[in-house]
């Protein structure tokens, strides 16, 4: 896994779809349109100053769209979660394609809050969308409808809008059907421009539950950004070492006492830069989080990215952004079918290079296969017992010799029933804990419930252990059987996950690989108890140690449907607990 960021493994990105034809058009976005965007920005600044409510804001956006003659409307929505209700208002407008049937659509969106965090408002992003609406309306070459969406808050606004658009309203969302509907949305661009000006355009691409958009979209955007806009694209907001010649040391994780020739080595800088991208990618993907508003689109099979204007002192602003978005829309407009040609499974190590699935998948699969073999080995071992018996050789003249020992291997039964009951019980326990975490009472009495859950989950297995049948020499010890089935199950889980969400599989391989394989009974009670405690912390320790993560994971599950939280509770933690029980069983 450490090899993933090495530049040699990456290959250059390329455009696979013939129809895209990126960066081959003249753009007509000009200073007049920049002026329109500036005017919108002043109006928005006024809105921020006057502290208008979400509803008033949406109404303002609707009015602005209506003034252009677009079919505009607002959407009010309410999510019900364990922590109360979340509500907001979206504004959107549909620009019908003048010469096409309107069965296909593209989305340009901006959310009220920016990805940059800390409550940064996406005022300039919204201004860009409003002025683009005015600008794009004057062209008759759109083969798809263009939908402009200004979503409330950061994520849930767009989530409500998309669900209403596709008619997949979950039970905890209350919203009215949308007034204006267009065709099937193929691609979407989300604009995030919160700073004053920018030097690079960053691309965020991770979607919910580890989904990624087709790489052609990112590659086309990179082409267009480079050739049409004349400014470089970056992955996330990470600037490349070449762009940070003098400031790289501020970014680098290498301590300052390392010799200068190491810190300045281009290979090492390149490695560190790529490693940073990979870590950020895994951080988003493993938790199933999306790295921006675009990530909500992927579940509806819409390829979307967020264009993030990396805040800087200059030199670019509305002019460059508008040109690039115009050109990108022309490219998206050229599509004849959904993006399908390029890669859906990849890791972008730098803007121009990526790792194919074949290059990174083995790192997780190898661990998984090793666990499978270890588990099967345990299973075979459990079936045989070595008996040492004394054999007296009746040969003449050999009485004074020591009696020889002879090893024999004998079959023994391997009762699986108790093992299976143990495993199912741990998973049921996980389900119970997860339900508790999602309940309203947990949220109200967090300080009470966290230690209580921790105590319960760590105490219940030792308490119930005596109920299991005792080991007898005729049958294989249940701890060995449990370990073998535990390893096999974990290996299967990792293999399956590696195809769905590589980052999560990689994290599972890291956290479960060695601990599960080395779980064993120990002769002394204290050692085994200590080991059990360690496994308990590995399984459930996040309850205490990472409260913010718990909260965000549960919010993601309840509002956005990210299954990271249930996965950890119902699959990951029980698997580690089973390894802990292996230690306990041996000692008892």
């Amino acid at each position: 896994m450490l090899l993933i960021p090495i530049p040699l493994l990456s290959q250059g990105t390329y455009i696979d779809e013939n129809a895209l034809q990126p960066a081959q058009v003249n753009t007509y976005w000009n200073w007049g349109d920049v002026h329109t965007a500036d005017l919108h920005m002043y109006q928005l600044d006024g809105i921020v100053d006057r502290n208008l409510t979400s509803e008033q804001r949406a109404e303002f956006f609707r009015m602005e769209f209506s003034k252009l003659g677009l079919a505009a409307s607002t959407q009010n929505y309410t999510f019900t979660t364990s922590k109360g209700t979340i509500s907001g208002n979206n504004a959107y407008a549909v620009m019908s394609s003048p010469r096409a049937a309107g069965t296909e659509a593209m989305v340009i969106s901006a959310s009220w809050l920016s990805t940059a965090g800390h409550g940064a408002l996406n005022v300039r992003g919204i201004s860009t969308v409003l002025s683009l609406a005015a600008f794009l309306k004057d062209y008759s070459l759109w083969a798809k409808d263009i939908i402009f969406v200004i979503s409330d808050d950061y994520l849930h606004g767009m989530h409500a809008w998309l669900n209403a658009y596709h008619g997949t309203i979950p039970s905890n969302l209350h919203t009215d059907p949308l007034e204006h509907i267009s065709g099937v949305i193929w691609t979407a661009l989300n604009i995030d421009y919160s700073g004053h000006s920018f030097s690079h355009l960053g691309v965020f691409h991770e979607g919910l539950n580890g989904r990624l958009p087709n790489q052609d979209l990112i590659n086309s955007f990179r082409f267009i950004s480079h050739y049409t806009g004349g400014l470089p694209m970056t992955v996330y907001d990470h600037l490349e070492p070449a762009d940070l010649v003098d400031r790289w040391s501020e970014w680098s994780v290498l301590p300052s006492w390392t010799p200068a020739f190491i810190r300045r080595s281009p290979q090492l800088q390149q490695y560190e830069y790529r490693a940073r991208n990979v870590v950020r990618h895994i951080g988003y993907q493993a938790r199933g989080m999306c790295s921006g508003v675009h990530g909500l689109f992927h579940q509806f099979r819409i390829d979307a990215i967020t264009i993030f204007a990396v805040p800087a002192k200059g030199p670019h602003g509305f002019h460059a952004l508008g040109k690039i978005v115009e050109s990108t829309l022309r490219t998206m407009n050229n599509l004849l079918e959904r993006l399908h040609a390029s890669f859906f499974f990849y890791i972008l190590t730098s803007p121009g290079t990526f790792l194919k699935i074949g290059m990174f998948l083995p790192s997780a699969i190898l661990v998984s296969v090793a666990m499978l073999f270890k588990g099967l080995g345990e299973w075979v071992d459990a079936g045989w017992v070595r008996e040492v018996s004394e054999v007296s050789l009746k040969g003449t003249g050999s009485l004074e010799k020591e009696p020889k020992t002879k090893d024999t291997w004998r079959n023994r039964r391997r009762p699986m029933l108790s093992v299976l009951i143990t495993m199912v019980a741990t998973h049921v326990l996980g389900v119970l804990v997860f339900n508790l975490l999602c309940s309203r009472r947990f949220d109200e009495n967090r300080s009470f419930f966290v230690p209580a859950i921790l105590a319960a989950v760590s105490m219940i297995p030792p308490a119930l252990l005596p109920l299991l049948p005792k080991n007898t020499p005729e049958v294989a010890p249940s701890s060995v059987l449990l370990k073998s089935s535990n390893l096999c199950l974990a290996s299967t889980v990792i293999s399956i996950m590696s195809l769905l969400n590589f980052s999560l599989a990689a994290m599972l391989a890291l956290t479960m690989g060695v601990p599960l394989a080395t779980s064993s009974r120990s002769s002394s009670m204290t050692t085994s108890l200590l080991r059990y405690a360690a496994y308990c912390i590995l399984a459930w320790g996040w309850l205490v140690l990472l409260p913010e993560e718990v909260e965000s994971a549960i919010w993601n599950w309840e509002v956005l449907g990210v299954w990271f939280a249930p996965f950890v509770c119902i699959v990951y933690a029980p698997l580690v607990m089973q390894a802990g029980i292996v230690c306990l069983q041996g000692s008892s």
């Binding site: 058009v25 010469r99 070459l141 004849l336």
Partner: protein, 394 residues
């Protein structure tokens, strides 16, 4: 006043006299009207022996991003039409989905160059096979003439054994195949067999096969029928590249090879004596970015005698046949020189377009032409004298 008038009269009289001598001389020296006809129709110095020209132009791809292929075919269409092949003799197979594509900023127009000076999709375009009709089956049926009786004449290749056919194909292809609309392929063998059937059924006199696609030269590698001259844009293993793209249309507008062929053709008119050899000499692999190929092994005429207009022009070339009495005499003279597979047989009166009068004489006296020269220069001299005399008198 009067002398002036008199002088003018004198001048007129003199001029009249001059003209009279000229006319008398002409009528005296005129060998025959048949000779004239032969001179007139035979001015191309052609050895092809064809009497009608046809063009089959195929754009085998579709979709907006293949704009350039549509422009290729339409560029060829414009050229053959300009050089005189009528629409009735042009079969144009075109997906035809770019001119009115919603993505086309210039609706109803197709341009083949970046400046957008010449709209190839003007008001006078007849697309015979459009959209989904452009299939391998339809193409082969068209060539071999195996069409439904209900098929209109505009969709048929009504050729005979005196037809010169220009077949142009463009699209995406590979080694010995050409893709039709992302759905099916035609192989080099299919086309070769279709041409052989045409030959056996006497459906052509000569064929010029031109193709612009990747690895185009492989497409004519399997031909085995006589009188086919073929040329392609690129060798095996080579791509054919587009020439340029227009930044307002947003896609490539023409392929390199076709661009240079069309550029060469723009310098050709209906009476041009330029030969196929000149066209082939104009190929520049450096500019085209691929190596165009020429397949002339099945073609029996020297390339510098094969005119461009034999294939691209719509020349109504007439054959001049002697009358029955002189047939034997002429047969003597011509039999040695003909190298054509369809050398006119003197006893077949069904074919001739223009029959000559009986006074046709074959011998062309050297003296005749000299007398013509003398007369020409004499009349020039007389006119010159007259003009100088008039000006002096004034």
């Amino acid at each position: 006043m009067f002398p002036m008038h008199f002088q003018l009269l004198q001048a007129c009289l003199l001029l009249l006299a001059c003209l009279t001598t000229l006319v008398v001389g002409t009528s005296n020296s005129s060998t025959s009207t048949g000779e004239h006809a032969a001179n007139f129709f035979g001015r191309h110095d052609s050895t092809s022996g064809h009497t009608n020209n046809w063009a089959v132009l195929v754009c085998a791809s579709r979709y907006w991003f293949n704009y350039r292929h549509m422009a290729n075919a339409l560029g060829m269409y414009r050229t053959v039409k300009r050089l005189g092949i009528p629409d009735s003799n042009i079969i144009l197979m075109l997906a035809d989905d770019v001119a009115c594509n919603t993505r086309n900023k210039f609706a109803g127009s197709v341009y083949a160059e970046a400046g957008r000076r010449l709209d190839l999709y003007g008001e006078n375009i007849e697309v015979d096979y459009r959209g989904y009709e452009v299939t391998v089956e339809n193409f082969i049926r068209l060539l071999t003439g195996r069409v439904d009786p209900s098929m209109p004449r505009s969709k048929r290749l009504l050729t005979d054994d005196r037809s010169n056919i220009f077949v142009y194909m463009t699209g995406h292809g590979g080694n010995e195949f050409l893709k039709f609309q992302d759905q099916e392929e035609i192989s080099a063998f299919d086309i070769a067999d279709a041409f052989e059937q045409m030959w056996q059924k006497k459906r052509y006199n000569e064929i010029l096969f031109m193709i612009d696609t990747c690895q185009a030269n492989t497409m004519y590698s399997q031909f085995y029928s006589p009188n086919i001259l073929s040329t392609g844009s690129s060798e095996i293993g080579e791509n054919s590249y587009s020439y340029e793209n227009d930044n307002d249309i947003g896609v490539s507008v023409i392929d390199s090879y076709t661009h240079y062929v069309l550029k060469f053709m723009e310098g050709i008119n209906k009476t041009s004596q330029t030969s196929m050899q000149d066209l082939f000499n104009s190929y520049d692999p450096v500019k085209i970015h691929s190596h165009p190929g020429i397949g002339s092994d099945l073609f029996h005429r020297p390339l510098d005698k094969a005119l461009i207009t034999d294939f691209f022009g719509g020349v109504a070339q007439a054959e001049v046949f002697p009358s029955q009495e002189d047939a034997c005499l002429i047969g003597h003279h011509e039999s040695g020189s003909t190298s054509l597979p369809f050398a006119p047989e003197s006893g077949a009166p069904s074919l001739p377009v223009v029959t000559s009068p009986s006074t046709l004489t074959v011998e062309m006296h050297v003296w005749d032409s000299q007398w013509k020269e003398v007369r020409k220069w004499f009349s020039v001299f007389v006119v010159g004298c007259l003009v100088s005399w008039v000006s002096f008198v004034r």
